[in-house]
């Protein structure tokens, strides 16, 4: 593990006169959870969209295993092993687990026929590997809980070759127990050791529970980064608030 799987150097992204990202550095190592934190508008979304090939960087360079790469489309990024699970999860509620799992990448035999049995088995096994045993792969996704859907989307990304898993606020909009379910899933994926996870969240507690490394963004810049050991608890809280002291915030409210 001599080098990070994904390295971002001095990434700049401008939209016309607006600078969304000004010189962001990021190292993502296999087998680690890298928490990406920051307030609304800090540039988190722009950063992950650039990493997923949706946006092209204005300046700066992305490296995969030390080699410079350019992503022109999301397809390029996916081929390089970047799997992004967006908040909406890109699932179809009326379709079955299996049909969602293989949507757009179906296993087919003669005449484009679906290999349904094989697909059922793969979908079931891949979800079991990261901690959820669905009893019926023919179940419609609409009947699943938020946590189960998240797991399905993650298992799908991994199965189709994600080496870097970008999770966009996977715990928001979920109940307490389902949040823990998702965190446990992330932990299981980390334990495989070969997948790097970028975990985007607003939640300080979740990030502390699970992350090995942190990067804090504010107004398009990195205002703090380091491993869990390097950052003390107070630092994390201060950086989450965009560098302000909690006391200052309390003052604002007073």
């Amino acid at each position: 593990m001599a080098q990070p799987y994904l390295r971002v150097e001095k990434l700049v992204k401008r939209f016309g006169p607006f600078t969304a990202l000004s010189g962001v550095d990021l190292d993502v190592w296999p087998g680690e959870v890298h928490a990406l934190l920051g307030d609304n508008g800090a540039g988190k979304s722009t950063l992950i969209k650039t990493l997923s090939g949706v946006h092209q960087p204005t300046e700066g360079q992305i490296y995969i295993e030390g080699k410079p790469v350019t992503f022109r489309t999301p397809r390029d990024a996916a081929a390089a092993g970047i799997g992004t699970v967006y908040q909406d999860l890109a699932l179809n509620p009326l379709m079955s687990v299996t049909r969602n799992f293989f949507m757009g990448r179906e296993l087919k035999g003669m005449f484009g026929m679906l290999k349904m049995d094989e697909m059922d088995k793969v979908a079931h096994d891949e979800m079991l590997k990261i901690g959820i045993d669905i009893s019926d792969p023919g179940q419609a996704v609409g009947t699943m809980s938020g946590g189960q859907r998240q797991t399905l989307a993650i298992a799908r990304a991994i199965h189709f070759g994600a080496k870097v898993l970008i999770l966009d606020e996977p715990t928001s909009a979920l109940g307490q127990k389902q949040q823990m379910e998702v965190l446990r899933t992330i932990k299981t994926v980390r334990e495989r050791g070969d997948i790097a996870i970028i975990f985007i969240t607003h939640n300080e507690i979740h990030s502390k529970l699970i992350a090995d490394r942190f990067t804090f963004l504010s107004l398009g810049e990195v205002i703090g980064a380091g491993t869990k050991e390097e950052l003390a608890g107070d630092d994390i809280r201060r950086l989450m608030a965009g560098g302000a002291e909690i006391e200052d915030l309390a003052q604002m409210l007073a």
Partner: protein, 374 residues
């Protein structure tokens, strides 16, 4: 923590319960009720040799266009131009057969008339689909425009070239051309031969008494079976079927996973145009006539049958088997007046209205159950 997990909350259902909850269950029950009611009310006349032939003819007509309409609806779009497309295709074929091929290319054969017409209707389907996916406009409005456009074009062509909006008395091509026979001829003759051998299906009065009455079903029955069979196979067993469901359910999710959403939709608009052309070909080669009003309102019947068959108006869900049941139901009721003299023919539309509304409610319940009440 106990050993309970989310997965335990999904109740395992018996096979019977699963059957009842399938999208086509409601359509099946309605179909059985209609079959029984019409059989009794018509004193079995609806299903004697001639009755069965005539009923299957209209059922197959409905089935052919409803299958195309249902596939398109599952992908989340409507096609209101089906009826006008039928009129256009029928006009085009009959006109070529009567007046010869365009640009002075000589006499038309049934094959060349059909192929040139099909090329035109598929092009129209492609244009409609491309406009819908490129503009992002509702297919309702785009195909409504083509409903008027194609009907108008059909009438204009008739008057300019033919001086009348009807063509009748074409030669009986099915006697001389195998290709015309494919559309206008008869199929499954063995069924009626067997029926005759078993003592039924005979002329009862007049000089021909005792001879075989009906010799076969109309060819459109075979076309319906082929189209519905293919549609069932593609929808439920192939990759393209998965793409059709994905496109209609949440097209952004489908696109994000690499499903070619636009191509799926354009392809399905071409499919409805294809079904309309087959419908028209069967009509032209069976009766050797064409009329500018042919196919009028058929698009709405096709959509109604698709909905009664369990297809969701919002897309993403539906079944070809359900559409088969819907077509049988609609065909029988549309024809009922011929076998039950004391009912008024317009009860057909009363029935359609009631059944359609009931079906929409039932489908909505299914959708809510699947999506967890959203």
């Amino acid at each position: 923590m106990t050993g309970r997990s989310e997965a335990d909350r999904l109740k395992q259902e018996s096979t019977l319960m699963r059957m009842v909850r399938r999208p086509e269950a409601g359509a099946f029950i309605v179909m059985i009720v209609v079959i029984v009611a019409i059989t009794l009310a018509s004193d079995f006349k609806a299903f004697n040799a001639l009755g069965l032939k005539n009923n299957m003819a209209i059922i197959a007509q409905f089935g052919i266009i409803a299958t195309g309409a249902a596939l398109l609806m599952i992908a989340g779009e409507f096609d209101l131009s089906i009826g006008s497309m039928i009129g256009f295709a029928g006009m085009s074929m009959a006109m070529m057969l009567k007046w010869g091929l365009p640009f002075g290319l000589g006499e038309a054969t049934p094959l060349s008339a059909f192929l040139i017409t099909l090329a035109m209707t598929l092009t129209f389907g492609w244009i409609i689909g491309t406009i819908v996916v490129r503009s992002g406009l509702s297919s309702f409005i785009v195909t409504l425009a083509f409903l008027f456009f194609l009907r108008g074009l059909t009438e204009v062509c008739f008057r300019l070239i033919n001086q009348s909006t009807q063509i009748s008395g074409l030669p009986d091509f099915k006697e001389t051309s195998w290709f015309a026979d494919l559309f206008g001829g008869e199929v499954f003759g063995w069924f009626y031969d067997l029926w005759f051998l078993l003592g039924g299906n005979a002329v009862t009065r007049g000089s021909r008494a005792g001879e075989q009455l009906v010799t076969g079903f109309d060819a459109r029955l075979l076309w319906w079976i082929i189209i519905a069979g293919l549609a069932y196979f593609i929808l439920s067993r192939t990759q393209i079927g998965n793409w059709i469901f994905a496109t209609g359910d949440n097209k952004e999710a489908a696109r994000a996973n690499g499903v070619p959403v636009n191509q799926v939709k354009i392809g399905l608009f071409m499919t409805t145009a294809f079904c309309a052309t087959i419908f028209a070909a069967c009509q032209v080669f069976d009766t050797n006539t064409a009329d500018a009003a042919k196919g009028n309102l058929k698009e709405l019947e096709a959509i109604a049958i698709a909905v009664v068959g369990g297809t969701l108006m919002t897309g993403g869900f539906g079944s070809v088997i359900g559409v088969v049941f819907g077509a049988v139901t609609f065909g029988l009721v549309a024809n009922a007046v011929f076998y039950i003299p004391w009912i008024d023919g317009s009860f057909y539309r009363v029935f359609v209205g009631v059944v359609l509304l009931a079906a929409v409610f039932a489908n909505e319940r299914i959708r809510k159950r699947i999506t967890g009440g959203i």
